[in-house]
Symmetry: C2
Subunit: 191 residues, 2 copies
């Protein structure tokens, strides 16, 4: 038997969720394998099931964590601000994720794409609804502005999925597609 490093359940839970973010974020719900998640988390595959029950429950837990972390990020970014300024601050923070947290943007796309599963869809709607409600509440602007705000967010998600972020292009050693650069430039708030 391999040497066992005993850790607390909590530590394992977050380790598995961290690994799941990578695996599901890149390959999606159906494409990601629990075996790979277990390996990346440093535990055996059966233990993943002991901790989370089913693959779906694990994915759902990941979705919930992602949305709640994003909501916290919104709150931090908007702290002390109201109205349009709050919205701009959140938008800037979201754009930063393109550079720092691209995987989370991709994972969100995977969550939307996994919405053929009713339970996952319910979790996604709940999370998204909380983000929208928060943005509405903290900014107080009219629907059209809220829509553009979230629309830009979704465009950033898509750009991250296509691997067109500055980080990706630099890593690939490839010159970014010019149209993609213009799209990204156009997302910047008018300053």
């Amino acid at each position: 038997m391999v040497v066992v490093e005993r850790k607390s359940k909590e530590e394992r839970l977050t380790a598995v969720l961290d690994a799941a973010l990578v695996e599901f974020g890149t390959k999606g719900y159906h494409g990601g394998s629990t075996e790979e998640i277990a390996r990346q988390a440093g535990i055996s595959q059966p233990y993943v099931f002991r901790l989370f029950g089913t693959k779906r429950d694990l994915f759902e837990a990941l979705v919930n964590r992602c949305f709640s972390e994003t909501l916290e990020m919104f709150e931090r970014a908007a702290d002390g601000l109201r109205g349009r300024e709050a919205l701009d601050a959140i938008g800037a923070a979201y754009m930063e994720q393109l550079l720092t947290d691209e995987l989370r943007l991709r994972a969100q796309m995977q969550a939307y794409s996994a919405c053929d599963d009713p339970e996952i869809c319910a979790a996604v709607r709940r999370g998204y609804g909380e983000l929208v409600s928060f943005a509405e509440r903290v900014s107080g602007v009219e629907p059209a502005e809220i829509s553009s705000f979230f629309a830009k967010g979704m465009l950033l998600n898509v750009i991250a999925s296509m691997g067109l972020t500055p980080t990706d292009m630099a890593a690939g050693g490839v010159a970014a597609e010019p149209w993609a650069i213009r799209l990204l430039e156009g997302c910047r708030p008018p300053s």
Copy 2:
């Protein structure tokens, strides 16, 4: 042997692509099965491979068809128009898809989500780039406006994925989430 209804290769190709749109559009690249696609297309599973080579080639063919149909839709909508008017017309046509062609919006999301595969990613970028270039060329507006235009499109894709279109809500017999209604309202061009 079951009675064989011989059809032309072309007919089978489009039948398979139609079935693939449904299967991949709802379950995604990894989640969709070639067996199910074959069944929906009314042929045997091996023949799918005879026609398309591999599952990936089939998915790629679907992506290409989707993007080129969308480009045609852009061209039709913008016919005879220039500048902002052209963009508004395309936007209106795109919004209509929420009601008439929701599956195609979902399929686009699945295409973005399948971008961990380099070949699929290349096809997606090519298709997306053509849409952006066309919109830029026909409208001639500045980057910020192009970005908002595509951003709104992506938001509609996400809303379709989450099953929050008017059609879905009516079909489910459920009242739509209020925040989702506001988001959709906010997408309408200011008229």
